[in-house]
Subunit: 288 residues, 4 copies
Amino acid sequence: MKVGFVGLGRMGSAMATNLLKAGHELAVWNRTPGKADALVDAGARRAICPADAADGDVIMTMLADDAAVEAAVYGQDGILGGPALHVSHSTISVALADRLAADHTGEGGFVSAPVFGRPVAAEAGKLFVVAAGAAEHVDSCEPLFMAIGQRVFRVGTTPSAANLVKLSGNFMIMSAVEAMAEAMTLAEKGGVDRATLLEVLTGTLFGAPVYQTYGDILVEDRFRPAGFAAPLGLKDMNLVDAAATASRVAMPVLGVIRDHLRAAIAQEGEDIDWASVAMAVRRAAGMS
Amino acid sequence: MKVGFVGLGRMGSAMATNLLKAGHELAVWNRTPGKADALVDAGARRAICPADAADGDVIMTMLADDAAVEAAVYGQDGILGGPALHVSHSTISVALADRLAADHTGEGGFVSAPVFGRPVAAEAGKLFVVAAGAAEHVDSCEPLFMAIGQRVFRVGTTPSAANLVKLSGNFMIMSAVEAMAEAMTLAEKGGVDRATLLEVLTGTLFGAPVYQTYGDILVEDRFRPAGFAAPLGLKDMNLVDAAATASRVAMPVLGVIRDHLRAAIAQEGEDIDWASVAMAVRRAAGMS
Amino acid sequence: MKVGFVGLGRMGSAMATNLLKAGHELAVWNRTPGKADALVDAGARRAICPADAADGDVIMTMLADDAAVEAAVYGQDGILGGPALHVSHSTISVALADRLAADHTGEGGFVSAPVFGRPVAAEAGKLFVVAAGAAEHVDSCEPLFMAIGQRVFRVGTTPSAANLVKLSGNFMIMSAVEAMAEAMTLAEKGGVDRATLLEVLTGTLFGAPVYQTYGDILVEDRFRPAGFAAPLGLKDMNLVDAAATASRVAMPVLGVIRDHLRAAIAQEGEDIDWASVAMAVRRAAGMS
Amino acid sequence: MKVGFVGLGRMGSAMATNLLKAGHELAVWNRTPGKADALVDAGARRAICPADAADGDVIMTMLADDAAVEAAVYGQDGILGGPALHVSHSTISVALADRLAADHTGEGGFVSAPVFGRPVAAEAGKLFVVAAGAAEHVDSCEPLFMAIGQRVFRVGTTPSAANLVKLSGNFMIMSAVEAMAEAMTLAEKGGVDRATLLEVLTGTLFGAPVYQTYGDILVEDRFRPAGFAAPLGLKDMNLVDAAATASRVAMPVLGVIRDHLRAAIAQEGEDIDWASVAMAVRRAAGMS
């Protein structure tokens, strides 16, 4: 297929590379052009603007936040000007996803398809893709999704549903980290070391990647360099909060997480990993 | 080995039965004597009091709460009067475990070994045993633990450490349920049904028994009959809270859980399952 | 003085009327022109646009939210086009106040002066004015403030400081209501009626208007018609939350309030008073 | 009247002194006898045990906690052995007050009458007395209450109602402190000093002793020596929590307070004032 890709950060570059490897005809664009060089060397065409990248079958975007997506879509020479089906992989607000769905009125259409996975998973083509949109649109993207991911979850025909699921997933990750941090702090002050508690948890009811991955980070106090920086985590939790406000849902655990992200950033600095909510928990218990 | 067993509720009976099957010489005692009948029919000796049951190598207790354990140990003809090593499987407070450890000054000794698993797991001999106590004492119990469980975790030489781990585990279960409930409520009000969200969660980072088991309960609103009644869950969370007060640890997610257990009981009744924190979350969002 | 007034809702109309009564030369503008009729009948000039109203010494704005202020200031024929000193009385975000301060670079200048008080206080000229801005600017507004209020608090030279104080005050009001609601619910379930508890509180350490006013509302379940609607209260609490995110401050009581505002709106409807956080508290205790 | 007084700490001594000054015939008892010396010098009789002190019209107790009251009442030579009406001024649990009411079955009767006020107010005879019990019993105590306090609130005929009101009041104090701490921290990080915010608050809707007294403490960081030590405050909040558990009431602000008391004690030490919840709030914002 003829595919455009906008947003060549670490995640986006890895995804675009896998599309190229899968044999698709790729056009790439990034606000900072240098980030496109490697892909161009590998055979991609350098698009001159988002609209140019969108002059094919599908245009994929993988950008940092709502503002970046708005700029790429609604800005001058933006994606809305191209005929391609727009597949948005970014973690953006439910509100913006709804607005994008409403504004892609042309033939191209709009699919929201945020992904779960860290850069390493993106490089290995092992992302999880959560997709929502018109069935025929999502169908047509399946080969592309299989090039970047290991599994596709279809969660309905309203694109923003995929964003809601993605945001809920990030909230669930933070919830698991926060709960582990509270339990580990209680255990440690009571004489049980964190590794021992983690071994029992993952060996019984909690044998899932979220506990194994973040459990190790907590046991080893491995918060720098940030795999996912706390301010970005806070941004995502603010998007969950905005959805909760719009839907009138009380989410007290979300409130705890947002407070601890603010505390961790205030206490440790802006460059700390989002798992550092655990540091806020420890400091509140008088530990350092 | 010559083993006594005190506390023949559904969990205790299953555990005792497995000890009998494994070939141990068993004496049983229960406050309500009728509950011992089946085991006596199967070959166990009916002890006339806890002290009588404790007249062997090991005396195991599996009782409802601190008060029941105190009665069996410190009461008239209590366990302290027997020579056996006392293995406490009950979910009791850290403070009582410390007191028991201090008071078992005789040759018998004291091991704390609470278990994870529902009655079905107990019947199948598939419990997880979390044990703490003097190494030689825990060593001598290994064959008994393997008769009732699938795996033993040793968490130190201070018996109450095992209780702290057990209570932390129950807190972690409730944390996962609370977080899922918040996410499912947000998703559902936003148009994504609960089963879809659960499929994505367990298919990605959250593929652990705690999410599968309780996720199904939440998707199906299966809160009666209670597998584990909310008032008992609240009792356990109060034990975590007592440990947190003693150790000066702030646990805000624990606060959320305790509030939602109180709310669920107030709104639904005393016979509801502890997973009904999810009902409190839904009601707070205006859903029923 | 020659004063313009933009925003003639119930609060704004009352404030403008008091300026007129104090002898100032008044020009008024409102998006819905009919709301200016009474003031024009009373002697005010009908401005044709915000810029026209700002063609004097001082232009005051009293609008519903950030968007309304942005429209009046930055929109076509907006206030930035006039020479007057802009005095913003609206409850707006700290971020917008900072932006307005930065953009009023002309001779006019910018003072932020949000007010405390309900419409009845506005009509009586008994508002509390919290003002921040350049000293000479605030000095020049003193006679105007004394026409609309009973007391002026000067909180610094950075205009947004006044907004931060105003938002903090609204947070404090909601905190007092939430705490009273929790205490009253506990007391009532324990057999002490709400009025009795309130009498003890206000008769001892809590003899302040916030407890008297809202205490009566809670005792009498007087939530409709709304004196201040819950969605507006939630909007204000979201502004506090945005300031807390920007400053990296954990505010767990704010989280409780926001959750209970969402719950009250979800359970009772959008037209309920913001004091209905108390209804959310009662429902969570199984009361109706 | 012939009055006995048990519990001669700083509060109790001041109250007993005022009873003596008012002309009552006083017998005093304290576990540490030396604390009775000053009162004996002033004309009181030294009782040989609580029962001896209770050999009159009224026996008043002012003790530290549930355990101390239980010892004085149910212990050897305890108050239950005397004929006097027992008036309990201590801050004890609702559950113990209910138990005391049930056990005072003799002619004496039982009134619960906890007080609001610091030692200075006790010395000045300016306490607030919250009384509950049979009307004729409370009637008969009125002259005694007026000797120690400035005002009596009667809150019903069930004695424990007075304890519930007292505990609710302490919860309300802590709620006001916590809310002020959050608002002051937000304001200060935003450039508004604490004293300025406090001036606006107490000058508008929050002109009550609770805000003035504790506001000054927070502005001046005056947490040592403790007026009321944080561990005692936590003990009281745990009594509120126990009542909330028994009544199935969710109290999320109580949860915040208890977590911050634990945090303050863990971070600052056991000798800190209960207003130091504000220090926990500040530390969580990265301030010291």
